[in-house]
Symmetry: D3
């Protein structure tokens, strides 16, 4: 969304946030947060009518005609004309979502191949039992990996999972001592709790489960339920190794409570997971940036996004 000040924009958007206010001259206006494949932009509609207040709700698909302005250093869209998307526009929500870099179908094919390469019958069956459920599979392959910062787009979690599988496959050649089956299963299942912790792939928010239990323990609970369903002993050694990697991947080394990584596979996963998250976060802001230096909210500092 690298538009210049004063440039005109005529485009389709999803409404992500919406708020009515009264301007200093007494008239009402609406503040909006809009998004499409080009990114996110804040917008203002001045002198709003009662009707507009009615149909301009969160998650609406709209067509906008407006001008780019700047307010406190941030790009903003002053809307001049706006209407809901109609059938003739032939626009679907999917067309407006930012997607993973690789088509979701290809990612899903790759993931299925990685699953088949798990030699342990126990772990392969555990993965399949969980992904066989439609509500899990559909969510796992559409939600972002995080609400913002990294892989924060449609099917971002799936892309993250498949990338981790590739990273693992490459590094298992350098470190052949590691247990491939445990690592691959962890790559695939480590964030499965997010299918219960996030509301939906388009405008994701935390569920009450996500707030009160957290996606890490939700993942452990889902793996336990999956194991019970698949007839795997709750004390199975391989499943234990998988759960340990997931639990310890989110724990800082200096914490007394919680579980620190205590196996080679847990240490391995901890580092490749952080590596992929941070590189993706950096590439995400790099794509948006026009300049050499861009402030990153995740790293909490300016990053050098000059990629020449």
């Amino acid at each position: 969304m690298n538009k210049q000040e004063g440039e005109r924009i005529v485009d389709y958007f999803i409404v992500r946030e919406r708020e009515t206010s009264i301007a200093t001259n007494g008239s009402e206006y609406i503040s909006l947060t809009l998004s499409n494949k080009d990114g996110i932009i804040r917008a203002k509609l001045w002198d709003v009518t009662e009707k507009e207040k009615e149909w301009l709700h969160k998650r609406a698909l709209i067509k906008v005609d407006g001008l780019i302005t700047f307010y406190r250093g941030q790009r903003q869209l002053t809307i001049q004309r706006v209407r809901l998307v109609t059938e003739e526009d032939a626009i679907e929500i999917n067309d407006l979502l930012n997607h993973a870099n690789i088509p979701r179908e290809d990612l899903w094919q790759e993931l299925r191949m990685f699953i088949e390469e798990i030699d342990s019958e126990t772990l392969r069956e555990l993965v399949k039992t969980l992904l066989r459920k439609k509500e899990i599979r559909e969510k796992l392959t559409t939600i972002p990996a995080a609400k913002q910062y990294h892989h924060a787009y449609y099917a971002g979690l799936l892309e993250h999972i498949v990338t981790l599988c590739h990273v693992s496959a490459q590094l298992l050649q350098v470190y052949p001592q590691l247990n491939k089956d445990v690592i691959m299963t962890v790559c695939i299942l480590h964030d499965i709790g997010k299918t219960k912790a996030l509301t939906d792939p388009v405008v994701p928010d935390y569920t009450t489960n996500g707030e009160l239990i957290g996606h890490v323990v939700l993942s452990i609970e889902m793996i336990l339920e999956g194991a019970i369903e698949a007839g795997i002993s709750t004390d199975d050694h391989e499943v234990l190794a998988v759960k340990h990697c997931i639990l310890s991947s989110h724990v800082n080394d200096s914490l007394q409570s919680g579980v620190s990584s205590k196996t080679a596979e847990a240490i391995f996963f901890q580092h490749i997971n952080k590596l992929d998250n941070q590189l993706n976060a950096l590439f995400m802001i790099g794509n948006e940036a026009n300049e050499d230096w861009t402030f990153s909210p995740m790293f909490k500092r300016r990053m050098y996004t000059n990629r020449k």
Copy 2:
């Protein structure tokens, strides 16, 4: 174990730790850690014979005749005569264990009354389903609450649980807004994972499950299994509230990962749990101390144990 230097001791003990060494004069000796109801003491047996090396193993019940000495500020027993306990001694392991301050049977009766006072059928049934299992009930009513520091004695966990129930019952009169059933269930089940995380009540050690999963998440897993068995929905609102209290009770406020306490019941339990642990730790060292000031390994400072 407040013996003076040079005093003679003739008493029964359990062997908790044992190690063979060679003295600077070339002869062999055994270092032991012994315990009975009076506490724990380190001991040395000089010029040990091959036979003694054989039967003086970990967990043995022995009768000792020795003298109190001091080494680097610590009381130590120089053993002069030692033999295994025989039938005539009429000594059982139970006689040598330090116990909770209240008889275990009384504690168990009190706990059963608190369970009956849970009004929610869901939660009462959850608790009963879990405690109905013999391996859980027997361990929950015999293991210490921690390996050292607080409630570190036979049935220490049971005493901790019952004290928390009393504390809650008293304070629910001051804070009637709190959900009694959730709090009572949390008091009873919050450390149930320790029945899987600790090996045994006499010389407790961490199991592999305890090291790799941790007793907090083990508690959550056992509650999930119990709920499934009791036919309770895995999304039940009350069970969710219980699990949240347990998960958040072990998490420091400043931690990014994990789950912070977000309900009034979780905040309540967090504080009374710490209160009971710390008071018990202080009373434990106070009981052993002869002096005004005693160093506490839990608080990592000298505490004022003058109780006049």
Copy 3:
């Protein structure tokens, strides 16, 4: 203050903050922070006259007629008519202040009973000497316990003190080893320095003493002055125990400087004090909240305020 957008309000308020600005159209306006028993609200008066600028000062009692609007997600009052309170309104500052949940007179009666139950003559006399002074007593029974977050209302400190006395009375039955007189005296005097650290109960601010010495050490100084006046030795063992509880209650365990809690009473007070502060903070935001989840500035996270 759960008004909807567009709703009209006609009510009495205290002016807590006031600031004149120039609008983007060049005309002057006043930004106000107003409060009454329903809570706090920000307000704007557009096209303000010189006269209005004159009498609309901090601490004024006013009657307002205005409309609720929203600005950046926050409720705001656009004032249409405003005037000073007159005699006919029969409104006093007291009517506009948010109060403790229990009438201040009842709290004061309860406190006096708790004082009489202190068996130690030394400590009872210390408490009475301090509360006998009118400037201390009046402030102690009217100021909030904190400027915001918890017990932040008229007589909030008194309510906090009396609740702590109740909590202690209940728990002394569970932990009879604790020194009742020391604990009760600490409950009553622990925040007495706030009578010097805060300016007044209505719009409290820190005094220079409060900023440079802090209310904890101010409490210690006042207790020392009270002891001297009551003819108590400055080395009295019970007064020492009281001062230790107060000093250590505000110190994190990991701090090198300052004094960590080293007695059972200090540990006890530390936890019940935090417990009451945090529960009150949570109930305060719960009262204002309409929704399941409310952001708490004290906990720095969203809290679950669904109380069904």
Copy 4:
């Protein structure tokens, strides 16, 4: 105490610590910590007799004949002959104490001159009132500034105070904006609470007051008592400034509780106090060290003590 292995020592010492043990060959021995002006050394007396156990107590003055050995990298004295000091030895405790680098009488004279240079009558009178008391003056001019690490010798606190006065006098020429009287008073009184927190100048230990209140708040209490005695208002602006500097000098910037430095004088004192403490600590280990690098327990790292 830079003796080589195998060297013989015949000298006088104070007994600082003493402990009886039983050797691996069954005979009794005594472990001692001895000190004289050359430093501190650990010693062992083998095959000790009952009589020796009797008169070899803590604080005894003794004459020793022994050999230097090394045990786990630390110099140690194997005692071959030992007896109590007799009148003929003409040895007093004073002759065995390590002293400040400058004679105590000279330091006291310098301090008196600095006191006379305080222009504010209030502050000069406050200082004089406190130092006029014999028990304060005697202790202030003999105790070490700390039990170990820095100025840990007879009259170490006095030397620290006088050095701080010199440092302040020099730097007030560079920063003339600072309030000389406040700074000089702080230099003199900032550690006055240590006269109540430490037991004695020879083998200093913490008093119960020192442990439960801490020397910082004890200083504040003594200044308050001194001010009351000198007829100074408890709200005096200069005394407030002095107390603020003392309170904030021991508080880390990141602490929420306690009081951070908020005046120029407090910031000034905070830095020169740390500077003098750390330089003295480094010079202390430098004096003992024979080698380029010496481990410092205060800095918790090896320091470069090569002073060429």
Copy 5:
């Protein structure tokens, strides 16, 4: 810049920041950050023309006629007339910059005298070789010591250096054991890397070098280059001591990585450097403040700036 609300200002300024926006009434305006010797002020120019947008760029020298208003508690200038500075104004950039308290030429003379007093030929030659380079000397004597907070004005770094030399000269009389030549060289060269890390003295920003290497290591690199040029061995003992002081002055004691101060000179410099930075920061806000208490962004708290 202690103007009251409504006061009129007619004065010269530098434009430091500039941003175009669209007002709620649809017209364009410019937000500016202006500065001159009296400080920094935010300004707004309403209903801006295309021409004005063209010549009102960053770093422009302008003459402004406007009124002081307040917005969200901050002083702001509503511009009524503005034009570029012309030859007749006889205003140069130098006239608008805030300067060190002592004329830059005098500071430079003082610095040259301090350099001549370095007895070590190695260190004196090292300093001279570096300052002989015009691009280093000019920048070192004009840039601020920091972008904000302390010595944040024209020639602020030079003033900081010269003050540190004075502080050192004064304190070397109290601590004669310290190596004068090392300390003086460190005072002069410790921030020399800032000549590469900051873009320019007027509107300083970080260079890419400054962001990626940091001014500390840039200082070390420049000293190495200077030493090579001056024919000094890269292992010279004095240069090593200087580099150690610089490297360790920016490292917190608790950091594992990096280098902690390990010499007396490093500890000395660490403290006087912090002392001068913090006092200067406090004097800077004190100069601007009209009130007793002023919030300091560096200390992250309100500071007492009452200097009576």
Copy 6:
């Protein structure tokens, strides 16, 4: 070194540490730390003669005949006969050193191939210029990567470097956006400062340079010297990128001072470096361990070294 208690050992060792002491029976003995390819063991030689004290010095190669004992849980060798290695033994220091898992010559060949694959002439020439120097090359290919914990054996640094090159080569296929030449150069040069910071490959200790400058900045200095020698501009963009990766790899995200990683290559290197260090540390203790759980001094916790 998995010998059982009482087992006899006849083998060759290097003396790493040596200390003379006096036993409790008055006779002298020597404590030694010995090592050979099987690991490290502490040893005691009782009743030592003057001659033995003479030739049994640090770094001596010796032949030992002794018995395995245990002292405080640690294996220890009670020496019964010992002599220096003679020509007939045909033993060289090399035969006693623990080596990297791959022959040093093979590692060196692999490293040379990775160097040739650097496409940037600037970076390839920089690497070659530095490795062309015999004293750098010989040390880089023989020293351990750390004194203990990870790659702590002969040529451990070389093995670490080559493994990082392999890891990078594998992952550049997954993340092709990264700059290969910068990453490979960082892998090779990131620890080059250790050739100046460590004394020697056999019994490595920190040099004064290593203590006062640290190996990170020593690496930067050596790269600067290498660049000057190779005629590369000191502002070269690629060299800057390399130096940034090295500087930021040792800095924790939360540090204010120092430089945080700000490029994708720096983030990449930070994670793979930690990954390889931690996996190697875990494999090192795993090789020594006989049991499921082994305490790791690096991770400061027990690790699960069961590799089945």
